[in-house]
């Protein structure tokens, strides 16, 4: 079929069953937008290209589909970089489309030209600069395949304007042929046998899940494995939700900001089974001290992650779900010898955020919320203290229901990601917890939420500070608070009203319950501003020397 390059782009998106894309138009993509005009694909106009990428990210996480975002050349493309890097660090399947100046002008520093394939090289799984209109079908087929298979990640397609205007005979390929890309899904049978033997020989096994457990949809298998081998399950920030948070074997959030039970169990374990967790520095603390007593099994689809951060005894390259399915065929029945009762004891030790006198206690709010929401609620967070509190105290019960920027820690992620999540799952409750700092980073997206009638429930944890940095200044810089007080914050309730969003402010503890109920029952977007005590910390000062955050160095 004869069509223009722009029409081919839209046709390819349709053939990839894309229903929703997030973007912002500009001079270099007008032809693609013109082709989109006649399509059934719903385009969400964001207020900044960065938000387009974050929204596509949120959409991809909750649906498991590939998120798509689009921007124009130059500043449009460079604005998107943060969103692309965020997706890369968290292995989120995404296709980012950017316009480019006409191919004949590339390299001459013309108006709104930026080398975006070059700029995003370090944080895309792959990128294309389309140089021939006839390549568009193949490139799109490959891009969606690359983004969604193996270890997922963002793929960028840069399309010069003259290529979009050129014509081609459209034929969509059935298959991709990439000889340099063959992800291994099936774990090696010999290694699986070794893993089974190690499990049977262990007396204090712990499972640790990461983002790979979510993207591989392996919840069912992980629950079965944990129950069969009687091992408690800790989770990295990215793994939250892949194992039900209310399960009796759930240890919760592991790492520098993790909870006591998870860190203690990992420290005492004699066998550590890592499932799709790359064991970043925030999860392990000092690697020399991490899980010293444990034999380590690491299952990951990306061989480069195995042995990168911590030493591994039994490496298995493979998809978590596929590999565990195979594993579960083996005899793994292990007798528990008091290990689980110890774990249960540790779980009862919950550390708070310190005594709150100058505002609300964030832990109380999150625990109240956690008890009240429907099971399949999607919780989106921004980055900072509130994110850690959510990871510590909120019980995520379903996979793909805890959406947060883990690897890159991108402030400003929350609001657009919540928008994308809601548009991906309109039937589910989507709640955003965001700080007063992070909200203002992509504040403009409140308009997008109104525009899309996205029923996002927003809880602003307002402590008037960039709390995480404030906490560092308090503990490591002798309370020399500098550039962390958010002076000039707006009246968030009035601000919400200006957008036509319902809003309320909560300042008294006894109002928390009623206001959360109001938040949940309200039809339409709503903002609740919770005035938090600025002294509330993730790691309470008085407990600094407690072993909680010293992962692996217990005993």
């Amino acid at each position: 079929m004869k069509m223009t390059g722009a029409e081919a782009v839209v046709k390819a998106l349709e053939l990839e069953k894309v229903e929703l894309i997030f973007g912002y138009p500009g001079g270099a993509v007008t032809h693609i937008y013109d082709a989109l005009y006649g399509s059934n694909i719903h385009h969400v106009l964001v207020r900044n290209e960065q938000a387009a990428a974050h929204a596509a990210n949120g959409y991809a996480r909750v649906t498991g589909k590939v998120g798509v975002c689009i921007s124009t050349s130059g500043p449009g493309a460079t604005n998107m970089i943060t969103g692309i890097a965020t997706a890369y660090m968290d292995s989120i399947p995404m296709v980012a489309i950017t316009g480019q100046v006409p191919l004949s002008m590339v390299g001459r520093d013309v108006f709104q030209e930026a080398d975006i394939t070059g700029a995003t090289e370090p944080f895309t799984k792959y990128s294309y600069l389309v140089k021939d209109v006839n390549d568009i079908p193949r490139i799109f087929k490959e891009a969606f395949y690359l983004a969604s298979t193996g270890r997922p990640g963002p793929v960028l397609i840069d399309i010069p304007k003259d290529i979009a205007m050129d014509t081609l005979n459209f034929e969509y390929p059935q298959q991709v042929k990439l000889r340099g890309y063959k992800p291994t899904y099936q774990g090696h049978p010999g290694q699986i046998k070794r893993m089974a033997k190690a499990i049977l020989g262990s007396s204090r096994p712990v499972i640790c899940i990461g983002g790979g457990a979510v993207s591989s949809n392996a919840t069912e298998e992980i629950v079965k494995l944990a129950e069969t081998i009687k091992a408690p399950v800790a989770s990295t920030l990215m793994g939250i939700g892949a194992f039900p948070g209310d399960h009796e074997l759930s240890l919760g959030f592991l790492g520098q900001h993790g909870v006591y039970a998870a860190n203690r169990a990992v420290a005492e374990a004699d066998l550590l089974i890592l499932l799709g967790a790359r064991m970043g520095d925030r999860a392990t603390g000092k690697t020399q001290e991490f899980a010293q007593r444990a034999k380590v099994i690491h299952v990951d689809i990306d061989p480069a992650e195995i042995g990168k951060n911590i030493e591994v005894d039994i490496p298995i390259v493979g998809d978590i779900k596929t590999t565990l399915k195979e594993m579960l065929k083996k005899n793994l029945n292990r007798q528990d010898d008091g290990w689980l009762s110890k774990v249960k004891e540790w779980k009862s030790k919950v550390q708070g955020v310190g005594h709150c006198t100058q505002g609300l206690n964030p832990m109380e709010i999150i625990k109240t919320l956690s008890d009240m929401v429907p099971e399949d609620t999607i919780l989106v967070t921004d980055v900072g203290q509130h994110q850690m509190w959510a990871a510590r105290y909120y019980k995520t019960r379903k996979p793909r229901s805890f959406i947060t920027s883990g690897g890159l820690g991108t402030m400003g992620y929350g609001l657009p990601a919540a928008l994308g999540a809601k548009l991906g799952c309109r039937h589910k409750e989507v709640i955003l917890i965001v700080g007063d700092g992070g909200l203002q980073m992509n504040l403009g997206e409140l308009a997008t939420i109104v525009q899309e009638k996205a029923e996002v429930k927003i809880m602003i944890f307002n402590n008037g500070y960039l709390g995480m940095v404030r906490e560092i200044q308090q503990q490591l810089h002798g309370e020399r608070y500098y550039q962390t007080a958010m002076k000039g914050n707006p009246d968030f309730v009035k601000l919400a009203h200006a957008y036509g969003i319902e809003a309320f402010r909560v300042e008294r503890e006894e109002e928390i319950l009623g206001n959360i109920r109001q938040l949940l029952e309200h039809k339409g977007p709503i903002i609740g501003e919770f005035v938090i005590d600025p002294n509330a910390n993730v790691i309470p000062v008085s407990r600094r020397e407690d072993d909680e955050t010293r992962i692996g160095s217990v005993g």
Partner: protein, 177 residues
């Protein structure tokens, strides 16, 4: 310690920058690099000499393998032929030309250009041999020098080739690491 890696890549524009970018980004040191198309015009072969311990080389190999355009990464061991090429322009007049030629003959290098006051010497060999010649010629005013990265082939029947999936070169599920 130096390690020689042979990397088969898609012969696309931009691939070299992806490979070299990876090295700088992840803090690996490239000692030398040589690249050219292979007997299969769709595949280029990059020979990289990398400096580092076993951990580094394993990381380099894994990260290279992760690049979509990289088809195969192989380590070249001791049982191989490794060569570099250097062109050295030395000042040589009637007085010392003879001495220089003597040195060059010992190294089995060649003179590829002669002018009244200059010589261009061409030498191939492993890194040490070339360095040794350069050291000798330092006594005679080296004016200009270019040197390629190392290229290497395994000895005997061992070959680094891309084999198509359909012919069973790649077995899904048997990749331990």
């Amino acid at each position: 310690m130096k390690h020689v890696l042979a990397v088969l890549v898609e012969n696309h524009p931009g691939v070299l920058s992806k490979v070299s970018g990876l090295f700088s980004r992840r803090g690996f040191n490239i000692y030398s690099l040589a690249v050219c198309v292979t007997e299969d015009p769709s595949i280029s072969r990059i020979t990289i000499v990398v400096e580092g311990d076993e951990y580094t080389v394993e990381q380099v190999t894994k990260q290279l393998n992760k690049l979509i355009d990289v088809i195969k990464v192989s380590k070249i061991g001791h049982d191989s032929v490794t060569r570099e090429l250097a062109l050295i322009k030395v000042r040589a007049d009637s007085e010392n030309r003879h001495q220089i030629i003597q040195i060059i003959n010992i190294f089995r290098a060649q003179i590829v250009d002669v002018a009244r006051d200059y010589l261009i010497v061409e030498i191939t060999g492993d890194s040490e041999k070339i360095t040794a010649l350069v050291d000798m010629l330092k006594d005679y005013d080296i004016k200009e020098m270019v040197r390629t990265g190392a290229i290497a082939l395994d000895r005997g029947s061992k070959m680094i080739k891309y084999e198509d999936v359909d012919r069973g070169g790649y077995q899904n599920g048997c990749n331990v690491l």
